[in-house]
Subunit: 264 residues, 2 copies
């Protein structure tokens, strides 16, 4: 089953924290630009400083694509530098019709060899199937996101339920290989609680605490519930904790801080 | 206004045909693998054979990402080889929260310098805003797609209208710079007709004829209606028209065939 690697990593580290390696170039400590690949150096130092504190790393492809073809080399090399027993998620939010989706699945699962990725459900079953067919890999679908625009469509009422609830029902129907998860923002505490109790068979990837301001208490309480693994992603508030040569220590302190309040 | 380049290209060539440069490696003529970059050679020969017949080229990023970092170099070089007065669309179906979406916008609009891209509306306004802020660029949102999974969510009823209709209404509300378009599959003729008559201010990108089997007659009739430009994408049925050294002639014949029935 796909999430066993993730569960093992959570147990080994006593941590549900996922760190988002989202290296906006303009925010990276300046001294790193002495290195040939400043972004790779930045990521490497964060991984070294936190590999006993994070059960997973999530790489948002937006920040790598923005670097052009060199960015994809950095993406691949970053994945290679993450210890083998830590779960790696490509936050790419892809989806397309079957033939194209199959190519995306090959890219992330076969070429980059990540453990999981994020997808967008708007195009429905056959746009997600090529990803879900990798039974040993995790597929996290956007469900109820942490941004204001979530209310434009996800929270609209469809025959007595919200669109995101219909998405959840479909995901459960499609979850034959128990490899499907849901992205649910921490900024919506009540929604998060309800989703966990109604759909415990879906692994949850929870962004939105830290820079986005979601409730840490709600999230911490959910970590104690039974079901598929739950992980909590923090990106900016950890990775940009410092700007001088001691930044890895500050990053480590910030990760420890989140672990302390999440795992209490 | 963003679509003026597209309108000029349509007028100059008398063609609403957009050719999808979606080079599945396993389908590319074998003799091209003598070249250092078979995919680039394949694309170049198609561009040379059809540049007076296609108002636009659409590059689906799935097929380039699947080639790893080399694929992004091929993507960039293909864009560079398209004549300046032809409209170039990155079919990337991206969307993310503001900070990440801004990076995607930079990638495609500033780095690759395409004229337009496709986005996925599920995350709502602020996930599309960073793209729409490029007033001179085109932003085509998925609306009613050509695949079977479109019925899972897009065609669900929300307070008396379908989800895709709500998406259309929002797109019109957000279309301050007249740079927004909609992706509507040709496989849904009635929907296509209704969308064009109700939302003529949205440019339409219509996939789904050719390999996917949508009605060419319906599409041809829509090309004669007033409003923002409409383009019709064909990928596989044109680009894989032949497999030997004469394949560019066969590609050209297929493009001419589509133009003849679309523009009659």
């Amino acid at each position: 089953m796909s999430f066993s690697k993730l569960s093992a990593s959570i147990e080994k580290r006593g941590a549900h924290l996922c760190i988002g390696l989202d290296p906006s170039v303009e925010k990276i400590p300046e001294f790193l630009f002495e290195y040939e690949d400043a972004v790779l150096e930045f990521n490497t130092k964060i991984i070294e400083a936190t590999q006993d504190l994070a059960c997973a790393y999530k790489l948002n492809t937006a920040f790598y694509e923005a670097l052009g073809e060199k960015g994809w080399a950095t993406f691949a090399e970053t994945v290679a530098r993450i210890p083998d027993d830590i779960y790696v998620i490509a936050d790419c939010k892809r989806s397309d019709i079957g033939n194209s989706a199959r190519h995306y699945a090959q890219t992330f699962f076969d070429y980059f060899e990540v453990d999981a990725l994020t997808v967008n459900p708007y195009m429905g079953f056959d746009s997600l199937e090529p990803f879900m067919n990798y039974a040993q890999k995790g597929v996290y679908s956007l469900v109820a996101t942490s941004n204001p625009g979530a209310y434009d469509f996800q929270f609209q009422d469809i025959g007595g339920k919200k669109l995101y609830e219909l998405v959840l029902e479909k995901l459960c129907e499609w979850n034959k290989d128990k490899n499907i998860g849901a992205v649910v923002g921490a900024t919506k505490s009540d929604v998060l609680m309800k989703i966990r109790s109604s759909f415990p068979e879906l692994s949850l990837l929870i962004p939105g605490i830290g820079a986005q301001g979601g409730s840490i208490e709600t999230v911490a309480s959910i970590l104690k519930t039974a079901g598929a693994p739950v992980i909590v992603n923090v990106s900016r508030d950890i990775i940009f904790a410092g700007y001088d040569e001691s930044f890895p220590d500050k990053v480590r302190d910030k990760a420890s801080y989140y672990n302390a309040i999440l795992e209490q």
